[in-house]
């Protein structure tokens, strides 16, 4: 209980309570995440179960009974008769899972690389940071597509749909680690020169213990900020890749896949297939991004007023 009280009294919690934008965006983000997690419980249909689909329900308009079957769908249906609301809920699960997993993957690589570069210095530092520089010269989407394409070539055909998600995670993660590495390296260089690190050397701590027990906990705040902003970027990257057709397969659509399916019908009047997944993506990315912006300001008092 003591730690709960301490957390509630902290400057971060105070800043949160006094920032309407932070409260609103956190609420929206949490609601969306909750909806995605509970999708099997709250979604009216299971869009991944072919048995529940009826092609006759295809292109139902939102909140209007279908001309053939009489079924009514809150947000309409797509070309195959899948309920748009349910596909959004299930699609968000994939988008969020890919986003979170990619950020965690990028974070682990980036934080370790940044810490090692900063602490070892010299040649190790130069090599790691030059790799990062080279990585930055490729647009991250291009890197992701490259990895995606190579991985696809090595995956047996019948496993491709299942592997697609993991390839997405790795390719987005690999294109994202550089900013973690750079920020962590910068912060760790500052920490490394502080006297508590010298004190740890003097009491006989080895380099690994100093890096992970002493320096790492002190560079976590900027990592947290970047992780939040990266989450929004990773969700968008996933959507972009899926929109380009190299991401989540149409049988297990993510938000990006839904937008790709929807844009084909935009000009034939079936606007709802495109609009609702796009709005969801916008809401999700925007709320996470605003949360990240607030976190950056709250953890960096120097930016101030």
């Amino acid at each position: 209980m003591d730690s709960v009280k301490r957390a509630f009294d902290s400057d971060l919690a105070w800043s949160f309570r006094h920032s309407p934008v932070a409260i609103l965006s956190a609420t929206v983000a949490l609601l969306l995440i909750l909806a995605a997690v509970c999708a099997p419980l709250i979604a009216p249909y299971n869009p991944f179960d072919p048995a529940s689909l009826n092609l006759m329900n295809g292109f139902s308009r939102p909140m209007e009974p279908n001309a053939f079957t009489g079924d009514s769908f809150l947000l309409g249906t797509d070309d195959q008769g899948r309920d748009v609301l349910s596909t959004i809920l299930y699609g968000m699960r994939i988008s969020l899972f890919v986003g979170f997993a990619a950020v965690v993957f990028a974070m682990i690589i980036g934080v370790v690389a940044g810490l090692v570069a900063a602490y070892a210095g010299g040649r190790v530092d130069a090599i790691i940071m030059r790799i990062a520089d080279v990585q930055l010269t490729f647009p991250s989407i291009l890197v992701a597509m490259l990895i995606f394409g190579i991985a696809k070539g090595f995956t047996p055909v019948h496993l491709r749909d299942q592997m697609a998600i993991w390839v997405l995670i790795i390719s987005i993660g690999l294109s994202d680690w550089v900013q973690f590495a750079r920020v962590v390296r910068g912060a760790a260089l500052v920490e490394k020169s502080k006297e508590y690190v010298e004190a740890a050397i003097l009491i006989g701590r080895g380099p690994i213990a100093i890096i992970f027990r002493h320096i790492l906990p002190n560079v976590l705040s900027p990592v947290l900020v970047i992780a939040t902003i990266s989450l929004a970027l990773a969700i968008i990257a996933e959507a972009t890749l899926s929109f380009l057709g190299v991401g989540a397969p149409p049988t297990r659509p993510s938000l990006g896949t839904l937008i790709r399916i929807g844009q084909g019908y935009l000009f034939s009047g079936e606007w709802w297939i495109l609009l609702f997944p796009s709005l969801t993506l916008l809401l999700l990315a925007l709320s996470v991004n605003l949360l990240g912006d607030w976190l950056r300001d709250a953890l960096n008092p120097k930016l101030g007023d």
Partner: protein, 564 residues
């Protein structure tokens, strides 16, 4: 009429934790040609008074009540733009750090001429003539040529002279100098203070000198105001306040100043005691873990023998060794530290004294020479077994209490870590008990163990740092400027603690400081360092009374004399 009159000034800083009253009902006056000192420890509100007079209070600070009169004109209610012209023209400012108060990308000439022309109605050539004249007055040699240089081409002391010239160039009536010499070495400090004194008398300026240093106050000011937690405790003629202080706070503050002219055994108890009292008196060392330790030869005369020690840093790196540029930080020095004594290393900034500490402890590898510590060879790779065995008995206390403790660790983990790493204890209960004992030993209660570093003041953190150092059962303790970041009354307590611990635990100390009076109080023998050389080693009393080397003579001659 007084030049400056402050009546019942109150300055408040509202925050979410409530309103903080930084200055509470302060009244003081400054006459023409008078230097008024504003002295106090950190958080006393002395700088805030200066900022309020200049209308430079940092947001959200404001002045809810009180009046400021400059030459019969009330200035605390002026608009920001009116205040700006007063600030440039009638009140000059000198800040602590001469580097940040000058624009690094413009020449001195540009900065002086621009300031003169902004405030005085003169032509460019006239402004330039005045600028050269001013530089000459503040003691910059060859001003006609040096005025064309950039700030980085001047040394720290010269830069501060330029800042003073900048403050003087519009012929102000009042100068507010906020810690003008704190960032400077003692020899330069004396020159700058002399300059301020001369200018004040010759130009009939009023000066407010804000400082924490009683020595500077005693040397420079006519009258002094002592502040404590926003309140004006005592005000009077400088001689009178220093020699016959009326208030208990002032008395304890003055008692805590290390006298430069004699050695005292312990500093007297002060009014504001931050520790829970020292537990040393009833501490049974012999039966305690701290007293055990490995068999250690205490009969050797010289615990540490340093011969021809060298250390250089790369200034410009290159793949080709012959293109590398080095800076010699230690140029081959010899000294011994005898068992049980306190050996002092004194010198100005950049003299290499802290580098010596870091080479002995192995934080920096050495570049030649030898170091023998109680039979162990410390030279060479820091990973060597012999060196490591020796260094288990060497610990260090650092200068900055705010960066020397890991802010993410509880005090109990910080103090226990050395025991865990070196496997000095058998059980967790034993370790826990020792942590409690150590914290009590350094004057902190056992509740301290559960807290985090940010919950403690600078002096308390320094006590935690000492407890951590003692947790390896060291025989040799290096103190690198252990009190230079602390207020004088806290410094007195930490120095007392170090003396107590040394006697009880039979520690040998290497005490590094730039502060001569502190060195005189703490050390048995002293080495004087300059530009990486050890110019003189002598017994403390002999060194202070009969310095042999010319540099030592200058250093001791320039030290602010604080007579009681």
């Amino acid at each position: 009429m007084e030049l400056l009159e402050i009546n019942n000034m109150v300055v408040e800083f509202p925050s979410r934790h409530g309103v903080f009253t930084a200055v509470d009902d302060v009244s003081l006056t400054v006459a023409e040609g008078e230097i008024v000192g504003l002295v106090g420890e950190s958080g006393a509100g002395k700088s805030t008074v200066g900022n309020a007079v200049m209308g430079l209070l940092q947001s959200p600070g404001h002045m809810p009540s009180g009046e400021i009169w400059l030459h019969g004109e009330r200035i605390d209610q002026l608009s920001p733009s009116d205040m700006r012209s007063i600030r440039g023209k009638r009140i000059g400012m000198i800040f602590q750090d001469p580097m940040t108060s000058l624009n690094p990308i413009e020449t001195i000439e540009y900065q002086l001429v621009e300031t003169i022309q902004t405030h005085l109605d003169v032509g460019t050539s006239e402004a330039r003539r005045r600028a050269v004249d001013l530089l000459d007055q503040v003691g910059i040699p060859d001003p006609a040529n040096r005025i064309k240089q950039y700030p980085h081409q001047f040394s720290g002391g010269m830069r501060q002279r330029v800042v003073i010239a900048l403050a003087l160039c519009v012929e102000p009536e009042l100068i507010i100098a906020d810690e003008p010499t704190t960032a400077l070495d003692v020899t330069i400090q004396a020159q700058i203070l002399e300059l301020i004194k001369d200018l004040c008398k010759s130009r009939k300026l009023g000066v407010i000198l804000v400082t924490h240093d009683m020595g500077v106050i005693a040397e420079t000011t006519d009258r002094v105001a002592v502040m404590y937690r926003g309140r004006l405790i005592e005000m009077g003629e400088t001689d009178q306040v220093i020699n016959a202080p009326q208030q208990p706070y002032t008395r304890s503050l003055i008692a805590a100043v290390p006298p430069s002219n004699k050695k005292i055994n312990r500093f007297p108890k002060v009014a504001i005691e931050e520790s829970d009292g020292n537990a040393l008196q009833n501490f049974d060392l012999k039966g305690h873990w701290l007293g055990r330790g490995d068999a250690f030869d205490t009969t050797v005369e010289n615990l540490l023998e340093v011969r021809d020690l060298q250390k250089r840093f790369i200034v410009k790196s290159s793949i080709l060794p012959r293109n590398r540029v080095y800076m010699d930080a230690i140029k081959g020095i010899d000294f011994d530290v005898r068992s049980g004594e306190t050996f002092g290393l004194v010198g100005e900034s950049g003299s290499g004294k802290s580098t010596v500490a870091r080479v002995i402890t192995g934080i920096y590898p050495d570049d030649g020479g030898s170091m023998r510590f109680a039979g162990h060879d410390l030279t060479g790779a820091s990973g060597k077994d012999d060196a490591r065995a020796g260094r288990q008995n060497i610990q260090m206390i650092f200068q900055d209490p705010y960066s020397s403790l890991n802010g993410r660790m509880k005090i109990s983990s910080i103090v226990a870590e050395p025991m865990i790493v070196n496997k000095l204890t058998d059980t967790a209960e034993e370790r826990h008990q020792i942590v409690t004992d150590l914290l009590e030993l350094v004057g902190l209660g056992k509740d301290a163990a559960k807290k985090y570093p940010h919950e403690f003041s600078g002096g308390q953190r320094q006590r935690i740092s000492i407890a951590r150092a003692l947790a390896t059962r060291p025989r040799f303790l290096i103190c690198d400027e252990p009190t230079s970041a602390l207020d004088v009354s806290i410094q007195a307590q930490i120095l007392n603690l170090l003396k107590d611990l040394q006697e009880q635990l039979r520690l040998t100390l290497l005490f590094i400081s730039h502060d001569l009076p502190v060195i005189r109080q703490m050390c048995d023998r002293v080495g004087v360092m300059r530009h990486g050389d050890l110019v003189e080693v002598a017994d403390t009393e002999a060194l202070f009374e009969y310095p042999q080397h010319s540099y030592t003579q200058t250093l001791i001659g320039q030290m602010p004399k604080f007579a009681k």
